[in-house]
Structures are given as C-alpha cells and as structure tokens.
Symmetry: C2
Subunit: 507 residues, 2 copies
C-alpha cells in the first residue's frame, strides 16, 4: 500500500473477507508468500476489495512481496506474550520466561499498540517487583545491540532529567577521559524538553556514530558523546516509549535507563537525581527511594551505582536551547561560565573518581579543568567525532532574532520555574531550531532592578520570537519579590489558570 | 490516501515535517480546509513527502478535502478526556462531567486506541463504582440513538451469554407479544461464539431494520427481533469493544448492556444469568452479586429489573449454529423441540409476566405456546420484518455436508463442554457459514451405547467438515462415564494440554 505503519506489522482485510475467515480486527494472520511468512495484525475495513489483503510497507518488505502477487493468508494464534499481558492486568507477578517472551514479542512487533498500552497501564498501576525489573532490564539488553570495549572500568553518568540547561555531560566526559578512564557516553535527544544532551553536543560535532565508530573514537580519546537513539541498545524501550508518551506514564524508568547502561558495558555509574520544587523529584525522601532502586538494580546487573541528589529548583547555568547551551559548556570548560554548572560537573565527576578509590575526587576534577586538560580532551573528542576542534565560544552563533524580557519591579529572584522556562524556549523554536532558546540574566537569590533584563529570548524566526515573548509575559517564569516585610503577596491569581499536561520524557 | 482507518481520525506526517512542527506520533493536529476543520491523531512516518499530510479516508471525508489540495495544519491540544483517563490510571474516582467528556470524546473519535486501551485496562483493574457505572450508562445513551415508542410498559430480556444454542429469544418475544405486551428486542451477532441471536433470527427474516422500520413492525405485531449493531444505540460501546476484544477484558459489561436497554426505552427487563461449570458465571455467589448490580443499576436508570440464574452447564437445546438453531426454535414454538429450551423460554417469559403483576406467569407462557398463539405471533413478526411467514422447519436446509461423531464406549453423559462445542461449530464454519454447526444427540444424564452417535457436525464445505471432525475427536466435547463403581478415572491426561485463550464477548 506504500504507507508505513510506524514499524508495526499491519494488514488490511475487507469486512466480508475477514468474516469468512473468522478473523476480527486485532486478530493475527499468517501471511505466506513463496518461502517467506510473517505474522500481521489485522485491521478490518469496509469497501476494501474482496479477497485482497492490504499490506503496510513494513510487512510488505519483510515478505518481499510485489503489488498484486498472490499470498496465502491464514488465521494465526495470538502471541504467547498476550497471556502474560493479561496476567499482569490481573495483578499477577510475571516469571522470568514470561518477561523474556514479552520483550521478544515487543521487539519483533508481535504485540499491537492496544496490547502494549494495556501492558504499560497495568505496569503503571500494579508496579513491578525488583525481580521483575531486573529480568526486564536483562531481557531488554539481550534483545538489543551491545558495545564491547574489552576494558574495565567503564564509567558512565546519567541524569533522571527534568532540569533545563543541564549540560554537565559536556564537562564530565572530558574530565573523566582526561584522567585516563573510559567513558563511552550515549545520550538522548529532547522529546518534551528544550534540549537533550545529544542536541547540545551536535552543535560541536556529529553525534550519530555507529557502534564501530564509537569504538574507534573511544580508542583515540577514552570518551565519546553520541546519540543513543539509532544504536538499538534496548530497542524494546523505544517501542514502549511510543505508548507511554501519549499516556504520560513512565513505569519502565529504571529498566529503561539501566538496560542502556548495561548495553554499553558500564561498570561504574553515577546517577544525578535533581530534586526540589519544579523538578521531577520533589523531596529528599522520594530521591532516596529512587536512589535505593538504582543501587539495588545496579548490583543485580553488575554495575556499581552511586546516586547524587542535586539542587533542582532552577535551570543549570544560564543558557537553555541547544546552541546556547553548547556555547556555555565550552566557555565553562575553558574556565569561564556560570559557577553552578562548574560546581555540578566537577561534583559528579568527583563522585566517579571516588567510586574508583581516588581521594578528593572533586578537587581532582577541578584541577583537570584548571590545567586545561579537560578543554584539550573535549577538543580531541570533538575531532574524533568529526567536528572542528578549534571552535571558539564566539564562533557559535545564536539567534539571530533576540528579545529581552524586562522586570517591572525591583526585587530578589524568588523562583525560576523550570517548566515555564522550557516552554518559552520551545515556543522560540528549540530544540529543532537549534539556535533558539532562553538566556537567563538573573538566578535565584540575585537582585534585579525595575527595567532590568530578567532573561533574553533567541529565535531563528521573528514569528517564533514574538510567540515566545508573548508566552514569557504570560507565564512569568522568573518571579521576583521585595523583602517579605515590604510585600507578602507576590502574585494575584484572579481566576482559574489553565495548565497544559506536564510530562517530561527524557531517557 | 484511499485507505480506511477503522473509523479513526488519523493523519500521517513525515518525521522531518513533524519535527519542525514540534509534533510527535500520537499528538493531535488541527487540520483546516476552507471553512471546515477537524482534529486528527498523528502517525509519524519516515520517507513520507515533506510538507505533505496523509489523510485516511475518515478524516478526509470529514474535511471534504481533495487529493493535492492545500490544508492548514496546526499542533492541537490533547483532548480534555485524556486527563481523566490519566486520573483513572492513578485510581481516582471520575466525576459526572468527566465521564460525560470521556464518552463524548470516544464517540467523536478524539481518543486514540492507545488511550482507549489504557482506559479499559485501568477500569478493569480499579473497577467502577456504581455511581460511575450509572453516569457512564446515561452518557452512552445520550450520545446515541433512541427508540421512542410512546408506550408503557416496554418489556425486554437479556442473557449475559456464554451458552451455545441459547435461542430462547425466538420463543420469548412471540410469547410476550402474543400476550399483548410490547417487546422491541435488539440482539447482537456472534463475535466469539457460534451464533448470536441476530444470526439465528436472520435465517427466518431480515434483521437489519432501521429505527423507523422497527417502529412500524412493532406497531403491527407488538414485537420485533432485530440486529442492534447498526442502530447506533450506544455507539461508545462499539468503540470500547474494539479494544476490549484483543485484551479479553470486559470491564464495561453492565453499562454496555443497560445503556442499550435504556436506549430502546425498556421499562421491565429480565436478565438471564447462566451459571455453572463451563459458563461465564461459575457459582451462585457470583451470579447473585452480578444480579444485585443489574437490579441496582436498573433502579438508577428507571428500569425494573429481575434476574434469573439459569442452568448453564450445557448448551440449550440440541442445535448449535444459526440455521440449526432457527429450525429448532421454530419446531419448539410449534410444540415439538427439546424440553429444556421450552422450559427456559416459558420460565423467563413467565418472570416478565409476573413482574407486571400477572400470576402464574410460566403457566400463562406455556398456554400461549400450546394454543398456537406464540407460533402465529412469530409468523406475524417474520412477515413484518420481511421474511416468509409460512416457513416450515423442514424448509430450513442445514449442511449439506454432514458427519457423525461416534462414542467408543458405553456410558452416561458426564459433561457437554460449552466452549468446546462452540469451537467445533466454529471450525465447521459457523456463524458466517450459516448452515454449519453441531447437533447434539445426547445431553447430560442420558445414556449412550458404544458405537452410538454423540453428535452430528454440519458444514457447507467438506474441508471445513473434516477440520471440525478432527477437532471434535481431539477435544471430546461430550464426556461419558460408566457408573462410578465401574471406572473412577474418566480420562487420562498424559501431558500438558495447550488451551486457546477463552473469551466470550456477547453483547
């Protein structure tokens, strides 16, 4: 039919034809053409030609069948894993072989979207035991590609995300690699945020390396910063995300993250858990519970894990949006840049050093920046991945459209709303329009005068700039207050505020 | 694109085009063409032409847009009801306006299959309160067609199903109508069974009447027996079924049934709950709980409900399959036929009479059959719906292919497995090949000799007959035993028996 079904194996039968076969919508058929056969999920349509079967591109290519060719179509059993999906709906614990069967059927696209949605909904409601999480993580590794560097230790870091402007990876990888350790970092692109690490790094060099190219780059420089999306590290996860995203549920957070770490061979991992109002994790109690799960799952997978609860109440650094962030990261590794970014990066890198038995890890990380070793290593990595190693911060062009958001009062910054900052940056065009974004001019605790600039908005197109500016004045992502004794009421809310669905999907 | 999406409003965008719009798979877009606009759910494809949007037939027709015409496409908000689906996943109770919004969005196809699957899964796990069930039932009535006969009382009967050969409706409707009461009965076709009531009645006369035609038929004869599927009585339910069926869950049983009864204006309803091993409902306790729910919901909807727990351990009568069953029903109303069928039909009709204050209802129903009034009324109804009122049982042709299943021992019938009987009848071609099916020659407690006929299989095609015969000897749907003191072991099970998924969907 010359139409793709988003990876799904779907075939169309006419109502009448399906009726005579005893096949309903969502049933399976086995289609055989010459010596090849494949299972497809049936959509029943009316007004489709009798005794014809319509094949979407995926199943047509799998069968190598030509338009108009005769195929044999027979009703087929439902996949075994559907029984286990039903068991999970009933709240039963899944056994190892059952989880393995589910993951295999997911990767081979034998489960429909309806069945996958039921599974993630049931997992979200009933939860998973740590045994199930372990088995699921291992199954997701087994059904995907892996990176074998034949080295130990392999270091890695991960952030559970949710904080705009978090470009610490661009500092941590060079610091670790400069110290002689191996850190093959794979990252995601933004789904719901203003920039993912892969989007940021791509400003400096290509990120879509193959497994072979990663091996070569790491051989040269000890580290890399690549996009994980095309590496097929845990392909089941990419399929789960397709149904989790519209439902705004994320029951597979742990196996999703940890399977990808296992697949690249990580032996030591630091997990950054940004915590606070406006972060995914609101309280230290939640952060500790999540940390425990990461550490426990790490043990089961043979990965030494330590977690860091980090301050998550405002963006990291001042720049939000791929290009603005790449420029800020480069400045910071060169010794300038905002202090909180440097603090966070050296703190996390220091934790990794200390996990390997090195004392005073943070000081070591700071020395590696100060000596210029981190900058040189970053430039080596940029060169190894095919970028320009001599790039200067001022070469990295942002905008060109630009506007300032002005304060209408004196006051100290009381909040910088993570979600609203990200929304303004997205409205300006980020992450697809890479030079768009937000540059904060004031952060928590800083003082600003009436008429002063709260933040700047950058955009590639004037229309988007205008839209972002309008949204910025509506949302007021940066809130000021006078001293409490001067004014206790910081904002009036005269009527119901309509909120968009908030769901941050970063993996 | 000249392809139907099964009623769904789906549009296709290329990966690149979607990226620039900030739209992901499963997001919504608002498509505007001249003065019409509609919301569609996006599927993102690769290799699709840039800056083009692919429209499936449903959305293309809604917009009246021509191939190649320019349309305006904008990212649109998710429907409000998605928030309530998410609330139900979290286990929250839904309020009246929230349920109304969900049902409206379901009927207008604003929710994707993934979202619908998540909803029915969450409903299946968390259950519904009776308040939620009531609101949902009313919302399903409000969003569909209704039948207004301007009469009281309006009688109705319903079976929760699961028992092959249950053709009691074909007797009950004429009995009630012959007594002067109004009974506009709508029924379903088989989904997973060997015959639905609409399939059975269709052997005698057309069943796909419009609301207008129903009114006319009922005016003439007091009753009708029509297919409810095209009447749009509770269209939300038909959409829910599409996702419930592959998951084999049925959380909306009560609102599904009762909304349709309310839509045809029923004031008095008897619900048949077949109970026993091999039935949907296994124990009297379960049957009583379900009965309570029906009665409670009836009160809330203004319908007087009584329930009957009926013997459900074997098929009703001896015939299974549309044609065989129509012939048996006709024989029985003419005074012949199997005694259990007559017993059940007069018992249920009698209950309806007694609900209206008539004493000795069952005896009244028996008299109506004996006098020939029921038969005359059935023939009037057949005529009013466009069938041949002079049809004789022997005119109704079954087969023509026929085979006998022979007993290899002497013994009394210990079980007649409902599910296996239905599977054999389906393998023979029922319900689509109408003259196919099973005719039992022995029922529970009857004695059969070695070499005697257990049941006959009918089919339209020899290939199907052979397949059904093979399945029959494998499944052994009729089990015999000698007296216990002769042989206590009735069957050896030497290895694991593979079972197909069992899920009976009858509405």
């Amino acid at each position: 039919m010359d139409v793709q079904a988003g990876g799904r194996n779907i075939a169309i039968l006419d109502n009448e034809t399906a009726g005579f076969m005893g096949v309903h919508s969502s049933d399976r058929v086995k289609i055989t053409c010459r010596n090849k056969s494949a299972i497809a999920i049936v959509n029943v349509a009316s007004d489709f030609p009798l005794n014809f079967i319509g094949l979407y591109e995926e199943i047509q290519k799998k069968l190598c069948v030509e338009d108009g060719e005769s195929v044999d179509v027979q009703s087929a059993e439902v996949p075994e894993s559907l029984r286990y999906v039903q068991a999970k709906i009933r709240g039963e614990r899944l056994r190892e072989n059952e989880i393995n069967t589910i993951v295999k059927d997911v990767v081979e696209r034998h489960l429909s979207d309806v069945e996958l949605a039921a599974l993630v909904t049931a997992l979200s409601i009933h939860g998973l035991s740590m045994d199930e999480i372990e088995t699921l993580s291992k199954a997701m590794v087994k059904t995907g590609s892996t990176l074998n560097l034949n080295k130990r230790p392999i270091l890695d870091k991960h952030s559970v995300g949710g904080i705009p402007g978090d470009k610490t990876t661009i500092l941590i990888v060079p610091i670790i690699a400069a110290a002689g350790f191996t850190i093959p970092k794979s990252s995601s692109r933004a789904v719901t945020s203003a920039a993912g690490t892969a989007d940021r790094v791509e400003i400096l060099c290509p990120v879509n390396l193959t497994i072979g190219e990663i091996k070569e780059a790491v051989k040269k420089t000890n580290g890399c910063m690549v996009w994980g999306g095309a590496l097929e590290l845990a392909p089941a996860d990419d399929i789960f995300i397709q149904v989790e995203y519209p439902l705004a549920i994320d029951p597979l957070l742990l196996p999703s993250i940890m399977s990808k770490k296992k697949a690249i061979g990580a032996t030591h991992l630091v997990v950054d858990i940004p915590t606070g109002r406006g972060a995914k994790i609101k309280t230290i109690g939640e952060a500790q519970a999540l940390a425990n799960d990461f550490i426990d799952l790490g043990k089961r997978l043979g990965i030494t894990v330590q977690c860091a609860v980090t301050f998550g109440e405002q963006p990291v650094g001042k720049a939000i949006g791929p290009t603005l962030e790449a420029r800020e990261a480069l400045s910071t590794i060169m010794g300038n840049g905002p202090p909180d970014l440097k603090e966070k990066a050296t703190g996390l890198a220091g934790l990794l050093f200390e996990m390997l038995g090195i004392k005073d890890g943070k000081q070591k990380a700071e020395r590696i920046i100060k000596s210029g070793d981190a900058e040189r290593k970053l430039r080596d990595i940029i060169a190894a991945q095919g970028g320009n190693p001599r790039v200067k911060p001022e070469d990295i062009k942002v905008g060109p459209e630009k506007a300032e958001v002005i304060s209408d009062q004196n006051g100290g910054v009381l909040w910088v709303n993570n979600e609203d900052v990200a929304r303004v940056a997205r409205e300006a065009g980020a992450p697809k329009e890479k030079a768009a974004g937000v540059l904060l001019k004031a952060k928590l605790g800083e003082h600003i005068k009436k008429g002063g600039v709260l933040f700047e908005i950058y955009a590639e197109r004037n229309m988007k700039l205008e839209a972002a500016l309008k949204l910025a004045y509506k949302l007021k992502p940066v809130g000021l207050s006078r001293r409490p004794e001067e004014r206790m009421i910081t904002e009036r809310i005269p009527a119901l505020i309509e909120r968009k669905k908030t769901f941050i999907l970063e993996r």
